[in-house]
Symmetry: C2
Subunit: 424 residues, 2 copies
């Protein structure tokens, strides 16, 4: 892109966090008929849940659904979806399940999406996942250059079967990643080398592995929203260090792992603490020795190569921390079509939050890092972006602002303060 004018070109925005899904009953034709009776029970449970939720919050829910009726159809109608993305200035997107975040009426069968770990029965987990994957493959196939579909693979329930599902989704255009259950619960923890066939298959097919926030051990605190919010991010991020410190990225150097919609603020302190544990001073020498062979770089050095963060609608503070978290790590996302996201006012929100950010930093966080992480076709995305992307002027940015390389270098402050050097 060197011949382009990077200070004025339209942004190539790739939303690292979007959702798609059929209205629940629409999954029936995609679901193995053996499970239709259980599917009826699932539908009844969903309906009951919607009634309960509506009782508590009727005005808010009905207001949202009525006002955005047309746009919300983009959850399963690709043509409508493109209209919404275009109007929102978004060229490409990464697609997770569970398009209805409020009442759960667009969830894959049996809750095989964001709470797959809670299903319990492996048969239902795989049946629900496959039904969604069939829909998703179809949904992405019309515009595979814009859509990076994330297939559902409940690896914790059955590793061999998971690998088969991965092999299948890998043949579908537009599928660029898999989502694994956030919690492994009573199954093997993700640090176990028994999962190696999963990581090997994902590496071989260039499929990015994800957790997405949502699941948490609510059986420990019921509907206490405070406790849920205090720890839901941690449960989504947890697999990251189980992979990293068990050496998964050493055995599979091409493996990429993304934590999505679980914020990004925590990454700065984690990198600091981890780097110091393994590369700082003589007191931690013993630890570094115990990790010998498991990791060959400083923990922070896996960020931006093997580890990325789907940071969705980043907070201003996370944007301020961009050089410590990494503009090559954190990826913006609109969370379309969820009401807590930025759709349909994404450009206004970007103007508010990125107005004082240099264009080159914003380009990375808003799209380039995601395009690289997901191996998307930048030429094709560019063509879309040149038509619909917002310009730096739309974001109120000063095109003369430059990123200061000294600031970037100093951002991971602990490297100098502790003199962190990996010892093995």
């Amino acid at each position: 892109m060197s011949e382009r004018d990077t200070t004025s070109d339209r942004y190539m925005i790739v939303s690292s966090d979007c959702h798609a899904g059929l209205p629940c009953e629409g999954y029936r034709p995609y679901l193995d008929a053996r499970f239709h009776a259980q599917f009826d029970a699932f539908l009844a449970e969903r309906e009951a849940r919607r009634s309960e939720t509506l009782k508590m919050n009727y005005d808010y829910i009905m207001g949202w659904e009525t006002e955005h009726e047309e746009g919300l159809r983009g959850a399963y109608d690709p043509e409508q979806r493109d209209k919404e993305l275009d109007a929102d200035g978004v060229a490409g997107e990464v697609i997770f399940p569970d398009a209805d975040a409020i009442t759960g009426m667009e969830s894959p069968p049996f809750g095989a999406g964001l709470s797959a770990g809670a299903i319990g029965d492996p048969e239902l987990a795989f049946a629900g996942a496959h039904a969604h994957n069939l829909f998703l493959a179809e949904f992405c196939s019309g515009a595979p250059e814009r859509r990076a579909g994330v297939a559902l693979v409940p690896i914790s329930y059955d590793i061999e079967r998971a690998v088969s599902e991965i092999e299948w989704v890998a043949t579908r255009p537009g599928i660029r990643g898999i989502m694994i259950p956030t919690m492994w619960r009573d199954h093997l923890p993700y640090n176990d080398p028994a999962y190696d066939p999963v990581w090997a298959a994902c590496q071989a097919h260039g499929l990015v592995v994800h957790t997405h926030s949502g699941e948490a051990p609510m059986e420990e605190y019921g509907d206490n929203i405070g406790i849920y919010l205090a720890e839901v991010v941690w449960w989504a991020a947890r697999p990251l260090w189980h992979l990293l410190f068990s050496g998964a990225f050493e055995r599979f150097p091409g493996l990429r792992f993304v934590v999505t919609e679980a914020a990004a603020y925590w990454a700065a302190d984690m990198m600091w603490k981890w780097d110091v544990y393994f590369g700082g001073g003589h007191t931690t020498k013993k630890l570094a020795e115990q990790m010998k062979g498991k990791i060959s770089r400083l923990p922070s050095e896996y960020f931006g190569t093997n580890v990325f963060i789907g940071a969705s609608t980043m907070s201003k503070e996370e944007i301020r921390r961009r050089h410590v978290i990494g503009t090559d790590v954190a990826m913006w996302g609109t969370d379309y079509p969820h009401p807590e996201g930025t759709w349909p006012d994404t450009v206004a929100r970007l103007k508010k939050d990125f107005g004082d950010v240099p264009v080159e930093d914003a380009r990375k966080m808003l799209g380039e890092t995601a395009a690289r992480c997901y191996g998307m076709d930048v030429t094709a995305l560019r063509a879309v972006a040149d038509r619909i992307g917002p310009t730096p002027a739309d974001l109120g940015q000063d095109p003369s602002l430059r990123t200061d390389p000294d600031v970037v270098r100093a951002a991971r402050w602990w490297r100098e303060e502790y003199g962190t050097v990996l010892r093995n």
Copy 2:
């Protein structure tokens, strides 16, 4: 203390994190004879563990134990201990179990100290705890003004029995707190109101409730030190939000909870996120409504009144973050007699880390906050400090440095940026 010269007076240092314990076999006379056979098995397990650990790290362990042989006797010999505290400049201390951090040879019976949650058998958990509490009460009784003993109460195993143990320890001078198992494992989570009799008894007797880092679900990752380090702090801190968001500090406004030796850096971001969830903008209004009656202040406002952090040997970065974490929240600790602590070179370490900190901030973090949290006798502690405490000059501090109230006010930056106001 207004008539004193706060810029030159010796520091009243209270270490919020010290450890004491008998050599394992020394606990026998304190242990109910019914458990002596099981105690023999525990001793054998400890010996085997020590042999294993020695094999891996002989030079380091024997070097430490030989060089510090006399000082390490302070783990159970109060006279020796006072000598060590004096030489280290420490006037008062908060005392946890497990004095031998390397090979575990000074742990209470059955591991009833830092890994009480892992014992499994309630009988052993309480028997081991009570044996230590008998020792601890005796140990603290000689100098109750200097020692704040933390008794062991494995509340997760049996709430009624826990309350009896609390009632007993409350009568012992020098006992100023209880430590609960870090993890509740298969027992009731600490958000459950079934624990109210425990919190009521602690409030009534002014006993500070603690978790101390150490325990983690290692059955999920074996001896993988990287994963352990990545999450051990979280497990120790976890009970904090289970108490806070279940309203324990509303029902028991005098209850104090301290997370010890689990760092302090995380507190800044937790306060930010929690305050914003419950007091920020219209998008979280729904959440605030769901918490109505459960909390009446902003989450951050419980810090420094109900919630404190035993931050042990704070990092420089945590000291830099002191105004967001709170100098009325974070309490220094030497971790004596653990090798990862600052003993026997505490003053040198303080000089290195607090040299550029205003004296008034350092006074709080090094002692005043702990004295307040634990309700210690400041006049008596002062008398000790006037004899053995280091001076600001010893710490290389510039006595003219003042804390800027504007900096303190701005430190919790989100309050202004989000306009956080609690809504109920």
